[in-house]
Subunit: 221 residues, 4 copies
DNA sequence: AATGAATGAGAATTCATTCAT
DNA sequence: TATGAATGAATTCTCATTCAT
């Protein structure tokens, strides 16, 4: 029992410390594919290469797995977003572009998009999940972004806009791009192409849809 | 026949024609509040003022209720959207504004937003729901919108943008506004205020975030 | 309702007194096809050209329909069988042949075989049905048959056999013929052919399987 | 049953391999007593000393239990019957007697008769059960028996009879004996007494009911 | 630590029966 | 009489969770 038992289990022996993470990985995939309710604990176990009982060794309940999933994802998100947005001083359009591109890049990784997708899906059923996500992620990130915009307006970089509402204009198109692709399978001709979306989006976001000569004659109100 | 006792409690109300709609109304509320999986058929019945069995009188399964919900909502959506977008000829910004405002207005009615919310939530678990929604709503509406944009570009009203991707920039901010409010309870100071969101959004959409003088010095690429 | 309403209902108007019988007819078919438990009251009603509620106008419960079915079938069976067997005095082989042929003939009518088939199927679940069938049919018919055999033995027409057990030898082959055909779809080449079965059976029953010369050397004990 | 309780109560007996058989045993008893439809899965579980869920651990549905029951019974039946009938060469009456006696003996065991009884009862409701039983049992056994008879006729041991129809005369009386006893509780004075039935039956089968002197004057046609 | 057999509460669905019309 | 909408008890089946090994 002490050393070489290579033929036990279908896979090579793994370090026990990695187990909880493997469970979360498996759960993430499944919750994303079918939702929390439709995923059986045994499915999670199987996909993680474990038995049902073992899952309960690391998580007291199925709901705890979902919670663990969100918790695990929360720290790096808030961290890296705030880090990038952090204390930049100059033209906010540069930071915004940078961050948007970074987010766009990250969302190319299915492991990363999966988290918000699962959260969106399940929060209504588990309000304290929403609470957690809001407190740990949104309440930290949103004020920074709107602060950035406010400063941009004050410093003359940006037109007079409502900073809070403008956050929706910055992030919304990317969310929709994802939703269309993931939920309905609607992508542009060549695939997800987040890069192109970001280019098109930033161009409109900063310079508007209107053709230059029309700027005088057009009024959106 | 002898004596008429019409007020004998909620039982035997005999309004057969209205029943399916009452069931759908109740189901919509519950699916929205807790999701499809967490809603028991008995809950639906109770909220509709019926007994469990009666629900099955009109719908062969719980899933059929969900389907009926989507089906009921689909026709008016596609209709009214296409009607508004229809065959407008002039400056597309006027149509876009009009439609966006119309959508914004409609989304003020919780009965109306509820449908896409439920669809988004459950679609992963019921792929043919996605199919239905896509075929009946998205595949009809999206091409019209991107056609509008394409024409706007060709006729010089709009800058050179990718029509398909630009759809995301038009609708995305509104989706995010809703998601933030409904999923995480994050609204601007005074409530949902869809009107203000729409104004802010359209202003940015057409004229861009950048302050006018900066147009020369800024490059979004 | 006053005079000529030929287009109401799928069939010509029938006299109300026939209703209970129509219900029993429908029930018989269905109980035979699928068994009592698998037959819904609504199925019975539909096949009888009535509505569910109307069935309850004539029978207080589903079980009462089954009971009514058996009751209706019992009288003529006992009657006609006893009549034929009744008070015959001469060679019992003639009566037995006659009755067997009569039974064989009757069993050609699906409406008639259906009754014992349904009874066999359901008696275990409704013991008082068995009781009824036994008291009304079997306890009347069997003693007459074994009495006939006993007398045949006493009068030298038949070999020394056990009259009670011999009843099984007389009727059993016909039962098996039916069971094989109805339950497993196993019939002789040209169909049910009850006539041929009866001929073959009677020939063996009275004269035995053994070839004549072997009679001396063979002993069945 | 009386003593050896491996203590610890009925829970967690951990005898995984025996379980399916225990379930089948319990189901057999119940299906026989009350029929398939009237037996609840929980009843089966309870009688097997298990919980409802455990039944589903081994059988995916109640119907699968019924199927398993038949499947389990089928192999030994066909095997032992064919073995006995197999390749006998001489006087077929000896084999027939032997097999009939063997069957008679076996049918003394309630566990064995139960199977065909359940099959007969439920087969109309589950046609593929009939299919299975027919293919695996009847289609194997019947041709062997009729072949035996045909050979007996050819070799002069038996009178000119129809081999296929004669099968009914051989087996039918035993079936009826069982049906009368099990369905209606009608047995000869001293109980089932299969031995006596078999003796009486074989005597008639081979030598006929008719008293010897009458052979000339009697004609069964 | 790991397993998977066993449990039982809970949910979907069916259908006999009732009753206002 | 006749109808069929409405009811709810009963039943099948699922699956999170426990626990002996």
């Amino acid at each position: 029992m002490s050393d070489s038992i290579p033929e036990r289990g279908p896979k090579f022996r793994r370090r026990a410390e990695a187990r909880p993470d493997e469970v979360l990985d498996a759960a993430l995939e499944l919750f994303m594919e079918q939702g929390f309710a439709a995923t059986r604990v045994e499915d999670i176990a199987r996909r993680a290469g474990l038995s049902k009982g073992t899952v309960y060794l690391y998580f007291p309940s199925k709901e705890a797995v979902l919670e663990g999933l969100v918790r695990r994802a929360i720290v790096p998100i808030a961290d890296s977003a705030l880090e990038a947005l952090g204390s930049y001083e100059g033209d906010p359009r540069i930071v915004i572009s940078t961050v948007i591109r970074m987010i766009g890049h990250r969302f190319g990784d299915p492991r990363i998009v999966a988290i918000p997708k699962v959260v969106f899906r399940e929060v209504l059923g588990f309000p304290h999940l929403a609470q957690m996500y809001r407190t740990e992620v949104l309440d930290k990130v949103l004020p920074v972004v709107s602060g950035l915009i406010r400063r941009g307006v004050e410093q003359g970089y940006l037109r007079q806009v409502d900073p809070e509402l403008t956050v929706r204009s910055i992030i919304g198109p990317m969310l929709l791009h994802l939703v269309m692709a993931e939920v309905f399978g609607i992508t542009p001709a060549g695939g997800l192409q987040f890069d192109k979306l970001v280019d098109n989006h930033l161009s409109i976001l900063f310079d508007g849809l209107s053709a230059p000569p029309s700027a005088k004659t057009w009024s959106s109100s």
